[in-house]
Symmetry: C2
Subunit: 419 residues, 2 copies
């Protein structure tokens, strides 16, 4: 860098630091860290709570009582309509699909998959992790001591050449996928990626794709089509490879929805045997409320349109501020998701932590840098996950302005060798 450039960066840094001081004077305390729905979104579905009361009919078999381990028929009907599957292919549980994923992994470790050797008895187990990805997925595999391998995400989905290469290793037992509006980039896996998943022939017979289709109906601009991996896998006779997850956490209530796992009847029957011992079954009244409220696929789409109307302006505002701040400076690259809950920003290598530290000092908390990578380690210290859903737009604006200011400061510091 020549003297002229140095002076330019010093000058720019000074401008941003002055701006930051102005922000600090506002004594803000804003939280951009969690992918939570806003109050207005929760209000969309609050009439769900009017669906059951003391005068209701509780079903032929009384849903207040014991019985039924894998979900009531009414809620299965709704999800079968939504997902294009048969009722034998789904298990509907409580409010947390994360718990279904955790339990599926724990079962594979303790008991094996479809009669295979328990993973606990197979030595070191490895797992493919498209990055950046969902921190809570990675936390589960880390807890179980499973070795996580980063798979770069491309615009089409995970790097399938690498996936196809790595699954030749029998100790590689699975992969985390958020195929639609991936967390955090909002990428939709393209047809080629999904067809390659459907054809995947891992060395390990007990390999499972953990297909967390959390944002299936969570488009910002209506329902975006995505090739149905389960349907494609059936064509290949490969349907046992997939555990597919979803929930109503971001359709009805984030903390009080219903979750499901679906897949081949063979897989589901095996799981049913275990949950028949593990539990007395899910809360059937919550499921009944949901069935009455959600009704069918078309009605779910209508509900999701209302979510989109609340989320879209927030996403667009974030993108607008990023565009205005960074333009083609090259300071940041970011995604323009058509759905989901996040925007992924890649800052210059080595500046993500510093950026979020500066933002925090100015009163804005973001998801920790590194959180989107296994073990919390972003090898480039570059990725930041932006969660626009929770704050009202009047908080979102200063939060993002501070973020951009902080990113520039970190960038200029880096350029000047101060980092």
């Amino acid at each position: 860098m020549n003297l002229q450039e140095t002076d330019f960066f010093k000058n720019e840094l000074k401008k941003e630091l002055n701006l930051l001081e102005k922000y600090k004077e506002r004594n803000l305390s804003l939280d951009m860290s969690r992918g939570k729905p806003s109050k207005a979104q929760l209000d969309i579905s609050t009439s769900l709570l009017d669906e059951l009361n003391s005068t209701s009919n509780f079903g032929k078999i009384d849903y207040r009582n014991y019985g039924i381990n894998d979900g009531i028929s009414e809620i299965k009907d709704v999800f079968c309509d939504l997902l294009g599957i048969k009722s034998e292919e789904i298990i509907v549980s409580g409010n947390a699909s994360l718990n279904l994923m955790y339990d599926s992994l724990q079962r594979a470790l303790q008991f094996g998959v479809l009669g295979g050797v328990p993973w606990n008895k197979q030595g070191l187990i490895k797992w493919l992790c498209p990055v950046p990805g969902y921190d809570r997925h990675f936390a589960v595999t880390e807890l179980f001591g499973i070795q996580m391998i980063n798979i770069p995400m491309k615009e089409s989905g995970p790097d399938m050449d690498l996936v196809e290469e790595l699954i030749k290793d029998e100790s590689v037992k699975g992969i985390w996928c958020v195929p639609k509006y991936s967390n955090p980039q909002g990428i939709i896996y393209n047809d080629d990626t999904i067809k390659r998943f459907a054809k995947l022939k891992p060395k390990a017979m007990d390999f499972r794709v953990f297909w967390d289709n959390a944002y299936n109906v969570h488009g910002l601009y209506g329902y975006d089509p995505m090739l149905d991996v389960f349907h494609e896998a059936k064509k290949e006779g490969n349907e046992d490879l997939f555990y597919i997850f979803g929930s109503t956490s971001k359709i009805t209530f984030a903390g009080a929805g219903v979750a499901y796992i679906y897949g081949s009847q063979k897989n589901m029957d095996a799981i049913r045997k275990f949950i028949g011992i593990q539990t007395i079954g899910p809360d059937k009244l919550v499921q009944l409320c949901h069935a009455k409220y959600l009704k069918n696929k078309d009605n779910i789409f209508k509900i999701m349109d209302r979510h989109a109307d609340l989320l879209r302006p927030k996403f667009e505002k974030v993108i607008e501020i990023l565009d205005n701040s960074f333009g083609d400076t090259g300071i940041a690259k970011y995604t323009r998701p058509r759905g989901g809950y996040f925007i992924s920003v890649d800052l210059k290598a080595g500046t993500a932590k510093r950026t979020l530290q500066i933002a925090l000092e100015a009163g804005v908390r973001f998801t920790n840098a590194g959180a989107t990578f296994p073990y919390g380690r972003d090898p480039n210290d570059s990725n930041v996950r932006i969660a626009p859903s929770l704050p009202p737009i009047n908080e979102l604006i200063p939060a993002m302005e501070i973020f951009c200011c902080a990113a520039k400061i970190a960038y200029f510091e880096k350029k000047l060798g101060l980092l």
Copy 2:
């Protein structure tokens, strides 16, 4: 047996067989197999469903949204009042305490207890099982391949001499207990038994008593006191030894209640770390409904009085029929529980299966003989669990009369060498 006796038994058998034919002509189809509450019992708490609706206040932190892993403060307050514990000592979850037990066992197997070596890595693990006991407990330990050891139940509780002897073996890691109105005998552990539990010093540092106090407030004649094992254990500095479980399954709704685990803060903090990774937390709206409805200990007692009013006549009718049928014939010994959900009948050795087969042919299903023992094997083929709660009294009467008739037939068949 002399000829006179043989003739007597043949004659008695004939009488009972004639009686059975009469029952068969009625073409009954009755189910006495499950410890389910009746519809009238479920109706007691149906106003719980009116506690929340779309106009409700959802808490300072919005309980519809994400957040809180171990239960909302309102429901913890209710249970802390009921149980005499602190909020740090309890975790409130979904509807199934069985799931809490299963998960506690699975965690110990996979991760160890409080930093100890995972049970999965300690070779053969053994478990003490007071018998007869609860089939679903035994199903969990069996699934995990844990070797179950029968501990005879006495009127005071489990045979504590045997328990104290067996826990000298480091591979013995736990014991199932239903301390109050034990399933199926309805025994209340006496003070001496509970004090000995509180003082237990197992060789295995990672031994845990799974204290399933499922029927804590489920008296038929008001609240029966029982020494508080957690309180006693604290006196001994031995509180880490206990995982204590309970639920509202038989207070509010069997299939849609809330469940809890409580114990030392050390134990609970360790569990919280895991559930923070396993799940997004319990359904907080269900917990809020329960907190509003249950209110406090005194109100729970009032609710339980209403259950008792429905259950007591059924229990007393069963006992009356048993008394009338068996008197002091010695054909059957049975308990006279003051609470809980079951009556335990010990028939003459070798006649339980046959009795239930005869009853089934006459249209009455009971819990399988053997179900109350580990591996479904009653070494004496003697014990039968009677579940009086579900059927209306007009079904209970013929069901029990058929049971008694069947037991006599099996008894006489045995006497005559026909079995």
